[in-house]
């Protein structure tokens, strides 16, 4: 694509549509959480786990969204920990500084952004949705 990232696919899929929907849906939640944390969350952005915890302390909406990210009942710190892990597993973030615990968002993050962007919403609904 020339966007600075690659990903694997398999020709005949071994996964059902329902599963795919489920997984995609979870990533919608995570994306929403990250953009609420900081609207500048995109390739090149740096942050630390501490930043997220700080933000959650002053933003109830963020806390709310965090508690809904995972099915299991986890403490807020554990949720952030798990989220960072999931992001790293898919290659969306990279550890920039070990000592200060700073992570950087990679261009691969574009992948999930593009995926959401590629959805086409039917016309009538566009106008109905409140901002």
């Amino acid at each position: 694509m020339g966007n600075g990232y690659f990903y694997f696919t398999r020709a005949e899929s071994k996964v059902e549509l329902a599963d795919k929907l489920e997984r995609f849906s979870r990533w919608i939640d995570r994306l929403d959480f990250l953009k609420t944390f900081n609207s500048a969350f995109s390739p090149g952005f740096s942050f630390s786990r501490f930043n997220i915890m700080e933000q959650m302390a002053s933003d109830i909406e963020l806390k709310e969204k965090a508690s809904k990210l995972y099915k299991e009942k986890l403490s807020l710190e554990e949720v952030v920990e798990k989220l960072v892990d999931d992001l790293e597993k898919l290659g969306f973030i990279e550890l920039e500084n070990d000592i200060d615990g700073i992570w950087k968002v990679t261009s691969a993050f574009h992948y999930i952004e593009e995926l959401v962007d590629s959805l086409i919403i039917s016309e009538e609904v566009e106008n109905e949705i409140s901002e």
Partner: protein, 398 residues
């Protein structure tokens, strides 16, 4: 309101109040230089603070101190951290350039003509210098705004303003070039000497350079604005998609099914479970195997205790004492008896009167046993004797 009488005083003041000015400059963006901090930095000499206020270097705005704008701008300009881009000064320079040229053409005295010529050159150089600096400042400001401005709406506005500045600078460059080439051909033809020639050439080069940089900045600004636009659009779309998903109408109101069907990325598949077959030997015979089993049984908590099958009760038969008699030859007594006799070992063993009949085989074994057990007390000769098919060495007491 006092003023500095000469440059000496000014520089002396700057040197004396180094610490305070440095601190105030560093804090110019956040308003928090309180009276106490200021006092500390002038070594608790209140007259120095009063002196500064009097000479218009700092002013007291009630809660805190601020450096006067004049000094602030001076420091920012000279240290190249200015965030102001001054296009107006270039315009003024162009005006004064025109004036200087007019005076040159009107003047008759050679000396004063020469003075005007020098003035023209100075202004030209000044224009080029200022433009150049403006371009550098502009670039820095654009980058800073894009990278550091947290609020998206403000970021966009600032970038637009910077774009206007860019146009301003470009216009100034154009005007200067027109002035040199078209507007004042008479002057430049008339007054052209080596010095002016060099100056004009240098200025033209600098302005062209600046112009190229401006084109690059134009591209950069457009790039940044596009990125901001993209992010905004994405955010809106994300919110919409999430809303639809929460309302459970995502599948019907978007083409998500279509999209997901058309792609099959690997991360969406289940993790393949590769089963390992454990080695039973490992489980049974090693310590780690035992630990693993213990941990597993603790986790599963089935509480299975291996029950030993109880055997049937013992019958009375088992309780009877049964005796078994084992016959064995006492090698010690045999040896002692042999030592007392005069024969060789083999013959002695063969002819000895045992309580029980001993096979030939057993006698041979006995011969070897005694020979090996009591070797130190025996003398093994080199002579061999024959007994049917067995050749044996003659052994006598030592």
């Amino acid at each position: 309101m006092a003023a500095f009488n000469n440059i000496d005083e000014l520089i002396r003041m700057l040197s004396r109040e180094k610490a305070l000015l440095k601190h105030m400059f560093a804090n110019r963006k956040n308003l928090n230089v309180r009276y106490d901090t200021a006092r500390e930095l002038v070594e608790y000499k209140e007259e120095r603070i009063l002196y500064l206020i009097d000479h218009g270097v700092i002013h007291d705005s009630g809660d805190f101190f601020e450096m006067e704008d004049v000094y602030l701008y001076f420091f920012e300009e000279v240290l190249n951290v200015s965030e102001q881009i001054n296009v107006a000064s270039v315009k003024e320079s162009i005006d004064s350039l025109n004036s200087a040229i007019d005076y040159y053409l009107l003047e008759n005295s050679e000396q004063r003509k020469y003075d005007y010529l020098k003035h023209v050159r100075k202004i030209l150089r000044n224009i080029a210098q200022t433009t150049f600096k403006n371009v550098i400042d502009l670039k820095r400001n654009i980058d800073n705004t894009y990278k550091n401005e947290p609020n998206y709406a403000i970021k966009k506005e600032k970038l637009k303003k910077l774009d206007e500045k860019r146009l301003g600078i470009a216009e100034m460059i154009r005007q200067t070039e027109i002035l040199i080439d078209e507007r004042q051909p008479g002057f430049f033809k008339l007054a052209m000497d080596v010095g002016l020639n060099n100056t004009v050439r240098d200025v033209k080069l600098q302005l062209t350079d600046a112009y190229h940089n401006l084109i690059e900045l134009d591209r950069q600004i457009i790039d940044y604005l596009n990125l901001i636009e993209y992010q905004n659009r994405l955010l809106k779309k994300l919110r919409r998609v999430k809303y639809l998903r929460d309302q459970m109408v995502m599948e019907s109101q978007t083409n998500v099914n279509q999209v997901l069907n058309s792609i099959s990325p690997l991360w969406m598949e289940n993790r393949p479970k590769y089963t390992l077959k454990l080695s039973v030997d490992f489980l049974r015979n090693t310590d780690e195997g035992l630990d693993a089993l213990k941990a597993l049984s603790a986790r599963i908590k089935t509480g299975v205790v291996a029950s030993k099958r109880k055997a049937e009760p013992l019958t009375s038969e088992f309780m009877d004492r049964a005796e078994k008699v084992l016959d064995s030859v006492n090698t010690l007594e045999m040896k002692n008896a042999f030592l007392a006799s005069g024969e060789d070992l083999y013959t002695f063993i063969r002819n000895y009167n045992y309580h029980k009949t001993l096979e030939r085989e057993a006698k041979l074994v006995l011969f070897c046993q005694i020979a090996s057990q009591y070797l130190p007390e025996l003398n093994v000769c080199d002579n061999f004797a024959l007994d049917n098919d067995i050749e044996y060495p003659l052994i006598f007491p030592a």
